[in-house]
Symmetry: C2
Subunit: 124 residues, 2 copies
């Protein structure tokens, strides 16, 4: 971890989320299906995948006419990197500001308790 990954724009992140949820090898149709609610034009999706490839987040494997899309960045690494970014950039690196923000974020008491519990476990 600690990969210093750039933040992806919203649309591209949505595509990555879809890729992360799918089983490889991933074809365009599968991504499309996963993002069905978005109702993106096929070409739009292809554009986003190409941009993700340009940014090094995805490898496009040509298989004749078809293409396969392979995530090169793991969801875990991305989330970790962005968490760091968030604490630094939004909370100015202040853990107390971060904690307050979480408490006021609208997360339920249960969710906050769960978070605390998980942090405790991982601390072991």
């Amino acid at each position: 971890m600690e990969k210093e990954l750039r933040r992806l724009p919203d649309s591209e992140l949505e595509v990555m989320q879809a890729l992360w949820e799918l089983e490889e090898p991933i074809c365009r149709a599968a991504v499309e299906e996963k993002l069905a609610q978005r109702r993106l034009a096929v070409t739009t999706l292809l554009t986003l995948l190409t941009r993700l490839s340009d940014k090094g987040f995805v490898r496009i494997e040509k298989d004749g006419r078809r293409s396969r899309y392979v995530p090169l960045v793991s969801r875990k690494d991305y989330q970790a990197a962005q968490s760091r970014r968030f604490v630094q950039q939004v909370c100015g690196g202040s853990i107390s500001a971060f904690a307050s923000a979480l408490c006021d974020s609208g997360l339920s008491r249960e969710e906050l308790d769960e978070l605390r519990r998980l942090l405790e476990e991982d601390a072991l």
Copy 2:
């Protein structure tokens, strides 16, 4: 809280951070000084302040030739809103994914402990 605040682009957020750290009334020069390391052209800073005003994050008070800048969104509200966004958008709303991300984020053991402690306190 719960104000559903849009995410600000990096440059604008930096300016907001400066505003939040300054005492009102805030003049351009003060912001400039606070952001000295950025070495922004004066006009660039003014553009960013204007955009923040357009987005409702700042009120520009004319005082003759000078202008004063008043943050209309509190740092706390912004941080809370963005925390929510982060958990939803990046972690897909999964608290466990969020917890893992934090553990792998590069935050030190001490910082994670502090976070846990603060969440506990606030839970009371």
